[in-house]
Structures are given as C-alpha cells and as structure tokens.
C-alpha cells in the first residue's frame, strides 16, 4: 500500500514541476518524473497479490503467492511510449532553441504572440 501512495506522490511532484519550471528541458524532465511515478504505481499494483514471479510451476508450493502479470505487461508499453515522447520532444526543443536562442517558455511564448 505504501508504494502506491508514494508513487502517486511522485506523479504529483512531477506534475508540479511541469507547471513551475520555466526551462523547456526541465519541463520535459518533469513529465518524465511524472511518467516514472505512474509506472511505479502499476508495478506496485501487480505486487499486491504476491511477490513470486508469475510463472506457473509444479515445484512452487504456494500457487496463491504469485504477482499479477497484467499490469507489468501493459506498463512496458507505457515505458516505451514515454521514451519515444521524451526523445522526440528533445529534438524539437533542440531545433527551437537553436532558432530562438533561449529555453525560457515565457520568452518563446511572448515572441510567438508578437509575430
């Protein structure tokens, strides 16, 4: 249970980071922190029913003590997607900062409003 509460806390720390940070790269890293919190939440979910690896084996005495494989299986997809979004956004940030020579969100936004 404590891992679930901690992971929701990490998610909200990441979310507050996306609001408060003015630097574009730090903003994206905060999104990464948020994603990590969600992944931890799913991992915590799968360990609620047990701690053994979810492989059915005749030698295993206590069949009830298996971890739930479904959240682990699905969250792999989310990790990959998070990686793709992060790398992709860094490419666009690189292009944007080389043209505007700033990473400050406020300044970039101000310039786009004027033009």
């Amino acid at each position: 249970m404590i891992i679930l509460i901690c992971s929701i806390l990490i998610t909200f720390i990441g979310f507050i980071g996306t609001i408060l940070k003015k630097n574009l790269i730090l903003k994206m890293l905060s999104v990464g922190v948020m994603n990590t919190g969600v992944i931890t939440f799913f991992v915590g979910l799968s360990y609620r029913s047990g701690k053994a690896a979810p492989i059915i084996d005749k030698l295993l005495k206590n069949q009830q003590d298996l971890a739930d494989p479904i959240p682990q299986a699905v969250i792999i997809t989310s990790i990959v997607i998070g990686f793709a979004v992060l790398t992709f956004s860094l490419v666009y940030i690189m292009l944007l900062t080389s043209r505007r020579s700033t990473m400050d969100v406020k300044r970039i936004e101000g310039e786009t409003d004027e033009s």
Partner: protein
C-alpha cells in the same frame, strides 16, 4: 470477402510501409489507401455489430467493439481522409507526409474500435505522436512551438489518464470497459482529464487554437476533422456505460460552457484560421453535450464541414504573408472554391437543408431547459462569428479543373445529402427556430464589435494549471451529488 474490422487497421499500416519503400509513388499509394479504406468501411455497414477479442487466451484479451455509432464515425474518417488526400495531390508534399498520415489513419481507426482502457491509451498515444510530427511538418519555428506545446499538454494529461485506469484496474482486475463495475470518483476525474485534453474542449485543450491555425492546410483539416473526435468519441463511449453515468451532468455542463466561450473568442478573433479553430472548440461543446445518437451525428457532420472549411480557407490563405481576415477580404477566390466554402458555412450555421441544421436540432431535442438556452446562445454566436466569411468575393477563371477541386466536392456532397434527407423529417418549429437564431446571429454581427480578449488561458503554464483545477472541481462535484 467476409467483412472484418481489423482490416481497417492492418491495411493502412501495410500501405505506410509501402509508401516508405516506393517513395516516388507515395501520392498514388496514399490515394489507393484512402479509397480502399472507404470501401472497407462501406462493407462493414452490410452486417451487424462486431464484438470480439484479440489474443484471448486467458480471457484477458483486447476487446474490440464495432457498433452502429462506431461505423458512423469510421465512415466520417474515411470520407475526410479521402478528400484531404485528394486535395493534397496538387501540392508538393513528400513521402514523409503520406507515411505519417497513413499511420495516423490506422491509429485513429483502431482507437474508434477499441473497447479496452489500456488499448485506448496506446492508440491515442500513437495517433498523438503522428499528430506532433504532422503539425511540425514544414518546421517553421511557430509550428515547432505549437507542436511542443501540444506535446507537453498532451503527455501530462495522458499520464493522468494512465493513473486513472490504474486505479480502475485495482478495483476491477480488468481493463475491459464492458466488465467494469466499481468506479471510485478520483479515477473518473483522472480519466476525464486525459480524454478531455484530447477532445478539444475549452479550458482543457488550449493547445488547439495555436496548433490548428499554424499547421499546414491539410494537417489542420485532419486535426479538426478527425483528431479531436478521438477523445470525444471515447468520452461518449465511456459515459454510455452504467458505471460512468454519474459523470454525465459534469461533462454536459463543461461542454455547454465551452460551446459559448468558443464562439465569444471566435467572434473577437482577427486571424482567419484561428476563427475556425475557436469555432471547433465551440462545436465540440455541441458534440459532448449528450451521449445519444444525435451527438454522434453532429460529430459526423462537424468532421465533414469543418474539414471542408479548413481546406477551402486554408488553400486561400496559404500563400499570403498576412493572416488577418481583412487581407483575405481584399483577395478574390475561385468560383468553385467559394461556392463550396459557402455551403460549408451554411452547414455549420445550421441553415435548413444543410447538415448542421439536422444534427443541431436533434441535439437540442435531447437537452434539458438550461442546456437548450446555452446551446441556442452558442448557435447565435456561431452565426455571428462566421458570417463574415460569406462576404468573400469571387474571381472568375475561365476554366476550373475538376481534378483540383475534387476534395471539396466530395465533402460538399455529404453536407447537402445529410441535410436534404434530414430536413424533411424535422418539424416546422425546428426550422422556424433555426431561422430565428440565424437572424439573431446576423443582428449580433452587425451591431456588436468585440476588441481583443485576453488569451491568458492559452499560456502553457496556465493551461497545465487548469488540469489541477479541474481535478479539484470534479471531486467537489462528485461529493456534492
């Protein structure tokens, strides 16, 4: 051939690979793909509903559901995609554009069929990734910024969605929508944050005006015609099941506020394409105000006439340096394009005999009293904000090629067809009501002039902050009810 909905996902993916291999024939391949997609969707209408699982070996497979609502939306997607592709043939798009649009088509088709919470997340994220790339296609600085802003807003919202479905899984041990029984309030709020941010509702998706107005013409049409429907359709899908029904009044309220505020912003806006973007915000309010078939029909109609508006207006302003409406007014537009633009405008304003009138009246029948007043104000605002497009002048060209205007003509056919069939089934009172609303709208357009309204909600930090305000308000709403 037996109709199978999974072809709708497989064939665009195969075509996307083929486009990368045969780069020189990408235009031909993309046209073939769009036509094949329309054919496959039409075949689906011949048989009943499809309800099946993929890789269902411990009864934990992915649930896919194709019912009548889904078929209507799939038909809309295929029509819009075909006409956008045909319209893009006369321009110099390279194979990257066609590759991204193929993947986009596959993932949107998949997202409409998905009936599994996690599968919805995956396909929405895939569609969003292609949307980021399409928005930044020409790599102008402002396009990059629009794409990046959307990326940050969207990935934060989807993380909320993921947290919400995690909580749902903890209670139900399944992601299958048809098997959900227990729903804690907090998970409903988180799921709705994720989906509303995708569906083009005022306050929740403030990425929309910049992205829609700065993207290329075809991309704007794809975004407004197809992409905002992904989130909206998932919301209607979820609200239709019993466990989610407590959230219906909340969504209806937000939708009506959005439909009014969208028109206010559109009315005061000077930049041509931004007027249409704000109008999308307002029309999505109409779509999400209920969960009945009328709302699905309005989603269909909005996809058709809004992509037609974006194509015709976008083609006209494409080579202009200044983006203000006044500059477009000085320019003359070819006859056929101007005519289709006017038909699309009649559609969106709800003039009888055109498609918008039918669905707007049907949505209106479903609403309670306060909702009716709100949507009537929004309808007046729509007329007032878009009436100026009717004053565009026509330029006479001796010979207009049908080939260059085929995209417009396909969409126009459906605006007129749905409108003509539907209008004969409506009451006289509906026709009178819509005519009165249009007259009021013209009156508002002639009398009032609005200056610039503060765009404070569109700043990135504020748009992110709105998410948390929505979470708090949503929780308060659920505890009060």
């Amino acid at each position: 051939m037996r109709a199978d909905p999974s072809y709708l996902v497989i064939s665009p993916f195969l075509f996307s690979v083929a486009i990368l291999v045969f780069k020189k024939h990408s235009k031909l391949l993309s046209t073939l793909e769009a036509m094949l997609n329309l054919l496959l969707v039409s075949i689906l209408f011949l048989e009943g509903d499809y309800d099946f699982y993929i890789s269902n070996w411990v009864s934990k497979g992915i649930h896919l559901l194709v019912d009548f609502n889904t078929k209507v939306i799939l038909l809309m997607i295929s029509i819009v995609f075909l006409s956008v592709t045909l319209n893009s043939l006369k321009k110099d798009y390279n194979h990257h554009f066609y590759f991204f649009s193929s993947v986009f088509l596959a993932s949107t088709n998949a997202s409409m069929m998905a009936y599994d919470l996690f599968n919805i997340y995956v396909v929405i994220e895939l569609a969003s990734l292609t949307a980021y790339l399409l928005i930044g296609y020409k790599q102008k600085t402002i396009q990059l910024w629009a794409s990046l802003k959307y990326l940050i807003l969207s990935s934060v919202a989807l993380n909320f969605y993921l947290l919400g479905i995690g909580i749902i899984y903890a209670y139900n041990r399944t992601f299958d929508i048809s098997k959900i029984e227990v729903l804690p309030e907090i998970s409903i709020v988180f799921v709705l944050v994720g989906l509303l941010a995708k569906s083009g509702i005022f306050f929740m998706s403030m990425w929309l005006p910049l992205a829609h107005s700065e993207a290329e013409t075809e991309v704007s049409a794809l975004l407004s015609g197809i992409f905002v429907k992904i989130g909206a359709f998932q919301i209607i899908k979820l609200l239709s099941i019993e466990a989610f029904s407590t959230a219906r009044p909340l969504i209806s309220m937000i939708a009506i506020v959005s439909s009014i505020l969208g028109t206010v912003y559109a009315f005061s806006e000077k930049s041509t394409k931004k007027v249409l973007a704000y109008s999308t915000l307002s029309q999505m309010g109409f779509v999400l105000s209920g969960t009945s078939l009328a709302n699905i029909l309005h989603m269909f109609n909005h996809g058709i006439f809004k992509s037609l508006l974006f194509l015709t207006v976008g083609d006209s302003v494409e080579n202009m340096e200044k983006k203000n409406f006044q500059d477009l007014k000085d320019k003359k537009i070819p006859l056929l394009r101007n005519l289709t633009l006017k038909i699309a405008l009649f559609g969106i304003m709800g003039v009888p005999l055109f498609s918008g009138f039918v669905s707007k009246s049907l949505v209106d029948h479903e609403m309670h009293f306060t909702g009716k007043i709100g949507l009537s104000i929004a309808a007046v605002g729509t007329v007032a904000s878009l009436w100026r497009f009717l004053s565009l002048r026509t330029q006479r060209i001796a010979k207009e090629k049908i080939r260059e205007n085929i995209g417009y003509l396909i969409l126009t056919t459906f605006v007129i067809l749905v409108g003509a069939i539907g209008t004969f089934k409506m009451n006289l009172s509906d026709i009178l009501k819509s005519l009165i609303l249009i007259a009021l709208g013209v009156l508002v357009y002639k009398i009032f002039k609005l200056g610039n309204i503060s765009k404070v909600f569109e700043k990135l930090d504020n748009a992110l902050f709105i998410y948390i305000i929505f979470c708090v308000l949503g929780l308060i709403f659920f505890t009060v009810i």
